[in-house]
Amino acid sequence: MWAWFHKWSSPRWFYQLSGTLLPWLAVISLAALIVGVAWGLMFVPPDYKQGNSFRIIYIHVPAAAVAMAGYLLMATAGAISLIWRIKLADMVLKCAAPIGAALTFLALVTGAIWGKPTWGTWWVWDARITSVLVLFFLYIGIIALYEAFDNKEAAGRASAILALVGAVNIPIIYWSVEWWYSLHQPASISFTGESSIHPQMLRPLLLTITGFYCFFGWVLLLKVRNEILHRERSTRWVRDLILSR
C-alpha cells in the first residue's frame, strides 16, 4: 500500500498514470453531461407545481454537491501536504481551489435564477444559500492567500493550514446558519430513506451529478499536470517529454 502511495505521490509517475486516466474521464463526463442534460431538459415531465423552472436542478444540484466535495478534497490534500510534505498534494490543493470556487459561483447563480420564478426574488437570506455563500468566500480566501506568497512552497503550506481551519469550521458555519434561519427545502435525495423526488426526475439528475464529478476530476487532472510540468520544468524527464513531442 505504501509503495502505491509513494508511486502516486511522485509527480512524474502521476503525470504518466493520469495521462491514461484522462481520456476516460473526459468521455464519461461529456457523455453523462450531454445525456443527462438532454434527458432532464427535454424528456422529463414538468413539475406539477414549479412547471419547467425546476429543470435547473440538473445544473444547480450537481454544481453545489461537487463544490462541497471539492472543498473536502482540497482540505484532505492540505492535510496530506502538511503531514507528509508531498509536493503533489500541494499542487492538487492549488488547482482544486479555482475549480471549486467556480462551481460554488455556478451553484449560487443557478440558485438565484431558480429563485426568481419560484420564490419571487433573486436572493433570500436563507440558511443554505448563506452557507454556500460563505463556502465561496472560503474558496476566495484560499486563492488570495496562495497568490499573496512569492515562495510557492510556503504558499502551499499556508493555504493547507487555512483549508484545514476552514474544514473544521464548515460544520460550525453550517449549523450556525441553519440555526439562524431556514427557508430552504430539506434535501430531496436521501440515501437512507425514500427520496422525495420522483424516480423519473431523479435518474437524469444522478447522471448529471456523475458527469459533474468526472468533469471536476478531468479539469483537476489537466490543471495538476500543467502545474507539474511547470514546477518540474528543470528536470530531465520533462525536457525529454517536451523534446519527444
Partner: protein, 226 residues
C-alpha cells in the same frame, strides 16, 4: 525554566509589558469601536426605535471589525525584530507561546472592548435588559474572534500587503460567532432566554482556545521559513 507555571507567568508578563508600553495600540481599537458605532445613527437616522432594533447587530459587527483591526499587528513586531525567531528556537512549545500571546492580546483588546460596550449600547438606545447578555456574549465572542483572527495574522505576518488579505481570510470564519453572539443579545432584548446561544459561544470559545494555537503555531513556522 521547566515548571510550566513559571513559563506561563514569564510569557504572560512579557506580553502584557510589551503591549502596555505601546498604549496607543491598546486605545486605537477602542476609539475605532466608538467612532464606527457613532457613524450608524448618522447614516441610519437618529430614530430611537430603529436604533434600538439594530443595536445588537451594530455593536456585534463593529466589535468584530475592531478585533480584526487589533489583530493585524499581533505578530508583526515580533516578526520584524527577530523575537519570533528566538521564540521558535526556544525549548518552550510554540503552542504554549501562541496561546499565551493571544490570551494576553485579548486581555488588552477584547476585554476592554467588552467593558466599553454598555456605554455604546446606551447611546444606541438599546433596552437595558440586553446589557448582561451583551457583556457575556462579547466577552466570550471576542475571545473566539481573537483566536480566529490570530490564525490569519500568523499566516499573513510575512507578507508585505497583509491587511486586506487578513480580512478576506478571517471574516468568513467569524460568521458563527456573529450569529450566536448577536442572537444572544437580541433574545435578551426581547426578554427571552439567551442561555442557548451563550452556551454555544462558550463551547466555541473552549474549542478555539484549545485548537487554534495549533494552527497559529503552524502558520508562524510557515511565515518564518518563507
Amino acid at each position: 525554566m521547566s515548571d510550566p507555571r513559571i513559563i506561563w507567568n514569564v510569557l504572560l508578563r512579557r506580553e502584557l509589558l510589551v503591549s502596555l508600553r505601546r498604549r496607543s495600540e491598546i486605545a486605537n481599537p477602542l476609539f475605532f469601536f466608538l467612532i464606527v458605532c457613532a457613524l450608524f445613527p448618522l447614516g441610519l437616522g437618529p430614530s430611537p426605535a430603529l436604533l434600538a432594533g439594530m443595536a445588537p447587530g451594530i455593536l456585534w459587527i463593529v466589535a468584530l471589525l475592531a478585533v480584526l483591526m487589533a489583530s493585524d499587528g499581533l505578530f508583526r513586531s515580533d516578526y520584524d525584530d527577530g523575537t519570533l525567531e528566538q521564540v521558535l528556537l526556544s525549548p518552550v512549545p510554540l503552542y504554549v507561546t501562541s496561546l499565551v500571546k493571544v490570551l494576553a492580546h485579548w486581555l488588552l483588546s477584547g476585554l476592554p472592548l467588552t467593558l466599553l460596550s454598555p456605554l455604546l449600547a446606551m447611546m444606541l438606545q438599546m433596552p437595558p435588559q440586553g446589557i448582561p447578555a451583551l457583556l457575556a456574549s462579547l466577552a466570550l465572542g471576542t475571545l473566539v474572534l481573537s483566536f480566529i483572527a490570530a490564525i490569519g495574522a500568523a499566516l499573513t505576518v510575512g507578507l508585505k500587503r497583509g491587511g486586506v488579505l487578513l480580512s478576506l481570510l478571517v471574516l468568513p470564519l467569524f460568521v458563527p460567532a456573529l450569529i450566536f453572539g448577536s442572537a444572544a443579545v437580541q433574545r435578551a432584548v426581547l426578554g427571552m432566554d439567551s442561555s442557548a446561544p451563550l452556551a454555544l459561544l462558550g463551547a466555541m470559545a473552549i474549542m478555539f482556545v484549545l485548537v487554534a494555537p495549533l494552527a497559529i503555531a503552524g502558520a508562524l513556522r510557515v511565515s518564518h521559513d518563507q
